[in-house]
Amino acid sequence: MSSTSSSHISRTGRRPVSVRLAMIGAALALTHSASAQSVPADAPAQAAPTAAAMPQGAPPQAAPSQAAPPAGAMPQGMPPSGGFPPGGPPPGGFPPGGPPPGGFPPGGPPSGLPPLPKPRPYVDPDSVPEKAVYADAAALELRLGEDPPLTDAQKVAAAIPVSPMAAMAEPPLLRSDARRASSDPRDFSGVWFHDLSLRGRILRDLHGKLIPFTMAGARVLERRSNADKAGKPFQNGAALCRPPGIIWQADVHMPFMIFQNKAAVEFVFQDYRGRLNLVLDSKLLPPGRSYMGTAMAHWDGDTLVADTSGFKQGLWLDIAGTPVSKDAHLINRIRKIDNGDHKPLLEIETTIVDPKYYTAPWTIVRTFRWQPNMPLFDEYNCELQIGDPNVPSDAGLVPEPADLP
């Protein structure tokens, strides 16, 4: 299915996007479309396997109930706020045949659901005279939006097949007498576990926009994909038992703990025993580069804002290998969202600032559940295998060549 999607994308040069039509889009996305996608918006625009594709006896996958968009979602159908990357749309404009029809592949939406409106054709807002419009239903009509014309780099990225991986690990349910979280909005201490489905590749930012690759960034991802296809996947930090970076660690569906005081907010991940130390007192900042980077943080109201940089090596943001260079900055905005039952979500918004691989900063968001019933972590003793001097410990993986120019 991924190859079908890819050829469709590369043929047209454009792909429709459901952006964050979460309530409608998430349910529909489960059918068979590279264009429709469920939440998170940055997850691969990829269909979950249908019941027929599963081994017999397996229960069908329910539509994710985690489809609600994170707070701060853009109004749907609005033109992309960032506009075109420098240089504007490709000179050739739209490819022959115009924009794709969007919506569903042959077969249409599942029965019982209303048909989606056709996408609004993309119109460069600068190409028409400005006029005053009311924010009425006509202007904000719920539609599938469309991407602006892809850059050459985005075309490279769009042609890379996407694994249809989607998995949701469910932590144990909380008992009625489970410990409640502190009502202090600045107290993040606790055990947290992912609240969104695990996806193999981040395709879009939190606004549903395609990742703004530079050509170097797209080529790195492409080379990683090609190596995998050739049966020679590249090594990365995770494969070599090194801390793989916050986004990978946070996405991999293992719990993490947060301990904090006035000087630091310390994340302890089960996975790789990775640590992310958000330092509030600059005197405590450890010197030098590290796999997880070092981070100075400050409070912006009840949101903790941290700037992580100083990576020892580039990161893989996800399993597919969406790259971040070692000179990147990751800006986290972290807050606790509590609807009053003291079983909050922890929201971590991450902005990737990496001019080497991306033409502009882009942002993803993750939410994590309050999980006081999971304080005992599994032991992560990967050195026992990776450190074995007697046998190849690379799991058949090969070193990645140095970064592309």
Binding site: A167, E170, P172, L198, G231, A238, W248, M254, Y380, G396
Partner: protein, 134 residues
């Protein structure tokens, strides 16, 4: 309480399974081929990021070779009744496995048999490998 316990067990399964998927694909193994080897167990390593075993065997030329065979989560072994104490250094062991595509000794576990006749079948690998002609 019972419901809670079951939920906890299932979730453990998922936590255990996810990293297998997350850390690498099975692209490094030739899942269309199954090879067999027998030898003695040097080590059985449970857990992160996946379980693996090291077998002292002999290659085609009769030369001693250490093979690392990667397998899935501890949960799979647990479901088939194995515990860490069932795997002892020096035990006779035979395995079938999907070889490394890079040609180095070892690969991804398909099944194993230990002394006493107990057997294990890697259900994760089974789902990937073609069912016939192995």
């Amino acid at each position: 309480m019972k419901v809670f316990t079951q939920a906890a067990v299932v979730s453990l399964a998922l936590i255990a399974a996810a990293p297998v998927l997350a850390h690498h694909s099975f692209g490094a193994y030739n899942m269309n081929t199954t090879a067999a080897a027998a030898g003695t167990l040097k080590e059985f390593r449970w857990g992160a990021p996946h379980s693996s075993l090291v077998i002292l065997a002999k290659d085609k030329a009769g030369k001693p070779v250490e093979m690392a065979i990667i397998s899935g989560s501890p949960l799979m072994f647990s479901k088939q009744g194995f515990t860490p104490r069932d795997f002892k250094r020096g035990d006779k062991i035979s395995v079938t496995y999907h070889p490394n595509t890079n040609g180095s000794p070892g690969g991804a576990l398909a099944s194993l048999a230990i002394s006493g006749g107990r057997t294990f079948s890697d259900s994760e690998a089974q789902r990937i490998a073609p069912p016939a002609a192995n």
